[in-house]
Subunit: 327 residues, 2 copies
DNA sequence: CTGAAAGCGCTTACAG
DNA sequence: CTGAAAGCGCTTACAG
């Protein structure tokens, strides 16, 4: 039998009421210094910790944020995870990590989030059906789509201004004198991949530059093998690759084929993950300002958790081009 | 006001008692098919989810595993995280992600774990003072040090057999005909780095091969800059680098200096992270069998959570050498 | 198999 | 500022 030390035990030892013990641990409650001292001494002696579950049960709110993530292989996401965790820690919130293997978040994961009555939810690179998203709305649990946009205007989303970023990438590549280009898509179901394509091809069309689209899956392997396929047929003057990890695969494929970058062709990625700056790659890319994106997400969630309104908005941050050696 | 749907609401609609509703959601309880049907229909209509907090309060056990992690930059750890999450999900456990920036787990994080009354704790690349570790013992919360050993025999730890692995790496390098070697340490406070050094240098000493030790910090940057420093003075016939991510830095530093691998010198890493197999690196390394390590950890935790004994053991798994192009 | 009731460890009006 | 008491949403003996 596990003997848990409760507020009652502490109260007994300290010679005060259980309510007073509770007040010591509840920020904002009124307790005298004297009582506080007695209670803390007794608590230290017994090794008391307020039970977060009992607390949550009575306040009907938790200090848990559900963070849903899929692509742990892409260094972008672990970084997002650690930044969220660090930021929420400042506010006393903990992160429940939900990992989906599937593209779409599974029912059992949704159950978990609902059962734990999480204070808020962040969806990163997974998708969520509108029906499921609505069930969070019904429970007044604020939800943010991070780095993904959603079709309807019913939810809050934070992402990079992909449209503008990819337009500027197209202009940048155009200025370098390209004549034929390739857009290498990630998972085409994602808004991320689609928007980056849209902005890029829009500018190219304006300038009558031919381009071809290939599809892959946002992974290194995908980038590598697709690039190998592509160069069998043609060598475009530049590749715009939907994210960095794929772009690294493209670079390695080109290197294997003896194709020099940036002399023979050019490559631009998206994300600015740490590895893109490594000497072996030196990838030109678009930096997503994770800090800002995290901050906007946390601020929204904090506000909604304090006072739920269900407010929806599509927030976009700009970011900037990081020019390195592949262009 | 948030209106939570409770078992009572469901009971009313279904025309049964609240206890019956409870029984439907508690696996193992006896309920008739008829009652179950009525309850599930009512629950679906109302959108009911059993409150995990109330449940935990009464059973005095949670389904939350605290996972403490520091080095999210090293791809080894995100992989560990996702494997643990996937494995525990099978058993109905969720993962509370605790990220420390500091080497040692901070007090507030310990508080969090204790407050949430987690069912078990996994410490990966962070350290934990014995005093703190004991407080988990006092609360009968099973604890595993993952990929780290602890000085005393009071705790369960799961790691690779670093001693044997590094001995075999030394022998392997010796067979390649090296005459002077370098061991590039990670954080020297870690058992991981120290053991890898010990096994490696033991064999070298036996064969009267000179070696030199340099210290770094288990990061890519650390490996890169330290290697640059090293080759200013000498070019050893081989580097044994305490983990892969540092070894990748070493390879990039050598490449920058025009030093050919494996012709001019050789490099061996440790972990076998995904990137080590990428064409740009093709690093020879020691594969840590994450699957086995995770499995042993989960099995132990599951057993202890069912029936706490406080059993301590140091478990080691073997792994194997992956020979690629850097040797 | 089912219901009424006690109780998990807290917070929070309510009096004083 | 403090204590006695109600109650959060469940599980679980206890009867029937």
């Amino acid at each position: 039998m596990k003997k848990t030390v409760t507020a009652k035990d502490v109260a007994k030892l300290a010679g005060v009421s259980q309510s007073s013990v509770s007040r010591v641990y509840f920020t904002g409650a009124a307790v005298s210094e004297k009582t506080k001292k007695k209670v803390l001494a007794a608590a230290a002696e017994l090794g008391y910790h307020p039970n977060e579950f009992a607390r949550s049960l009575i306040t009907n709110r938790t200090k848990i944020i559900g963070l849903v993530m899929k692509g742990v292989q892409n260094p972008f996401y672990p970084q997002v995870l650690s930044q969220f965790t660090a930021e929420f820690k400042k506010w006393g919130y903990s992160v429940l990590f939900v990992h989906t293997n599937n593209e779409e978040i599974q029912n059992e994961d949704v159950e978990t989030l609902l059962n734990y009555n999480v204070a808020g939810v962040i969806i990163t690179d997974a998708t969520m059906s509108l029906k499921v998203a609505k069930s969070f709305k019904n429970n007044e649990i604020p939800l943010v789509f991070f780095n993904r946009k959603i079709h309807t205007n019913d939810f809050y989303s934070v992402s990079c201004n992909n449209l503008n970023a990819s337009r500027r990438i197209a202009e940048f590549l155009l200025a370098k004198g390209g004549t034929s280009m390739v857009y290498l898509a990630g998972n085409e179901q994602t808004s991320t991949s689609r928007e980056r394509e849209e902005g890029f091809t829009e500018i190219l069309s304006d300038h009558n530059i031919s381009y071809k689209k290939y599809s892959s899956d946002f992974t290194y392997e995908g980038g590598y093998h697709t690039a190998l396929e592509i160069v069998k047929h043609q060598l475009p003057s530049a590749f715009f690759v939907a994210n960095d990890i794929m772009a690294l695969g493209v670079l390695d494929a080109l290197r294997k084929k003896g194709i020099r970058v940036p002399e023979d062709t050019k490559v631009v990625g998206f994300d600015n993950i740490e590895m893109s700056g490594w000497p072996a790659y030196q990838l030109t890319t678009w930096e997503q300002p994770i800090n800002q994106m995290v901050e906007k997400t946390v601020n929204y969630l904090l506000k909604e958790m304090a006072n739920y309104t269900g407010m929806a908005r599509t927030v976009e941050v700009e970011g900037s081009l990081i020019e390195r050696k592949t262009t």
